[in-house]
Assembly symmetry: C2
Homo-oligomer: 333 residues x 2
DNA sequence: TAGATTTACTATATCGTTTTCGTGATTTTA
DNA sequence: TAAAATCACGAAAACGATATAGTAAATCTA
């Protein structure tokens, strides 16, 4: 900038203003400065800018999946990608937040401060981890996904309505003996489970305790085990609802091992609507969660809360899902 | 830091040195300063530090999959995750490099300069894109994955040896009519294809042209089409080798649609060794690419080249793969 | 013991921006 | 036409750290 100012015969302050489109610079001068800057290959230094403005244009991303498998879960990797795209469109880069940077362990909050993140999106973590709570309670704007903190913005997949729709669909196909394999206990699971019971009750379906089995999200092994138990029952369900599409694979193997065919002998549903679910044969009937919308909305809200801290009101945004009708739920008569 | 210096009755310079473990500070003073810093909740400002030292401790990541599906490809998302973990261990954060930050489009190189990345890892992009070439030719240290640039460090999955091993395994199971569905033309594909032909030649297997079909990586549709063509041949292959595990799903559907069973009627192999391949039944025989080692090595090399620019010699590191024996290749006699 | 070296620390400049306040010139207003 | 307002720009400080060069005191050397 100094060089540019010399070449243009103006002060560095003027260059800064011209480049940032400040109104109190003459049109002619500004145009000239911009031209020279382009010609000299000038590019701003984000660090210097961040230092002075106290805005880094950097968003933190706190995404830990417990399995440490990285970004294996398509639902979350898809949210992340969508978040990234929208954030970049709005002029923000993203930085992964982690403890254990360079041996010296810092808390999530410390890492955010170190990198001067303007805001943080939090998903797929243990929301009861004290370090996560500390971060959420700090003055750094946060958006959480699929979990609500008091007076903080959250983006939520509509698990209640979605589960309702899915059960209703299964019911509409004539099923009355519906089993549900659910994931480990989180607020998401609780919502789905409650909605499952409630919808069944509304539809006049009774749900024996042995039709509801616990498993682990994204873990085909545990779903296989649950499936085995369900198939061994005297009064078998006619439809098994899986905690997610990926877990279903485990169930699928079990079902085929018993010599049963989907959907002729037993019907199934998934959850998530990942790409894989639609290339399996039969196509899986599942609940599509709009990860793209969730990620985009998370970025949009976070940025808005950063740019307009005074007027921004924390809110909970619920993103609707949608039943994808595959061919895995047989029509009974 | 100023506050700390006042509280300790020393100068800010002393504080800086004490905190960075500089040798020319008295042990007692340093200890006291560290204690006070901890007590006052001091944390360094990465931007200020970067501004002064010209080192951001930030690594750029250039990862574009052409399908814009984000991080859907498990091989790459796994490399990325491993890279991230190792980079963080070494004290570096990572930043995604992209054009189109905040509307104003910048080149990859410009983005790197803007964020002052100390180095960049490049994978899964169009390596002939002029912007990628510009970045690689710049003074910013780079590491590429599965592609070699002159005088630059590259980490390569050993496609030649791997393909050799895989074909040899299939041959050892008695197969002589082996078809190969390959991905779109990249240097990786060329290596695998060449190795396929060479190994077949060595083993005395002739490969009719119609046994080699093009498809698109990670695209079950195109693999399904290729499979259809192969199954329609008068002289069917006894084994089909797929470009990757995920694509195989498309082939699997086609095979089952024909009423054929894997591996009794036809054998198959995958490539990548993603988690999915091992939960399918039958387990897929595939070639495991060590994505974790690749990512880790990429980070290690990149950081070394940053820390020791004088002595670092660009190199190509080849990471071996490994045949995972599933149950998808039948033993013929 | 005088000079040389080492130790422990400080003063100051600087990294590349932005921001605040000020100023002279020009234009508008009454 | 004199006073007020506006315009276009500059001077200088500041953001939070580090690096360089220097200094006084303590220690060593011959």
């Amino acid at each position: 900038m100094k060089d540019i100012s010399k070449r243009c015969g103006v002060s560095p302050a003027t260059v800064s203003k011209a480049l940032n489109g400040s109104p109190d610079i003459g049109e002619e001068t500004a145009e000239n400065i911009r031209a020279v800057a382009r010609e000299m290959g000038y590019h701003p230094n984000a660090n210097a800018r961040a230092l002075k403005t106290k805005r880094s244009n950097n968003l933190g991303v706190l995404f830990i999946d417990k399995t440490q498998s990285g970004l294996a879960h398509e639902y979350f990797s898809s949210i992340l990608n969508s978040f990234k795209v929208e954030a970049e469109r709005l002029g923000f880069d993203i930085t992964f937040i982690s403890r254990n940077i360079g041996g010296t362990s810092m808390t999530y909050l410390e890492h955010c401060r170190y990198r001067h993140c303007d805001g943080v999106v939090i998903a797929s973590v243990d929301f009861y981890d004290p370090e996560v709570v500390e971060l959420v309670k700090s003055d750094i704007p946060t958006v959480t996904i699929d979990h609500v903190f008091d007076n903080r913005t959250a983006i939520l997949s509509d698990n209640i309505q979605s589960m309702h729709d899915l059960v209703k669909y299964v019911h509409s196909r004539g099923h009355r003996k519906i089993a549900f394999i659910h994931g480990e206990k989180t607020s998401v699971t609780q919502k789905r489970l409650a909605s499952f019971y409630k919808t069944c009750a509304e539809l006049g379906i009774s749900v024996p305790d042995e039709y509801v089995k616990p498993a682990i999200y994204h873990d085909p092994e545990s779903s296989a085990r649950a499936t085995r138990e369900l198939l061994a029952l005297n009064d078998r369900p006619t439809c098994i609802m899986y905690p997610d599409d990926y877990s279903f694979i485990g169930g699928m193997n079990e079902i085929e091992k018993c010599g049963l065919t989907i959907p002729d002998d037993i019907s199934v549903t998934g959850y998530d609507g990942i790409h894989l679910s639609q290339i399996l044969r039969p196509k899986l009937t599942t609940l599509f969660q709009d990860a793209v919308a969730i990620g985009r909305e998370a970025a949009a809200q976070l940025v808005e809360s950063i740019l307009s801290p005074k007027t921004f009101i924390p809110k909970q945004i619920v993103i609707p899902g949608r039943v994808i009708e595959g061919a895995s739920v047989k029509k009974l008569d």
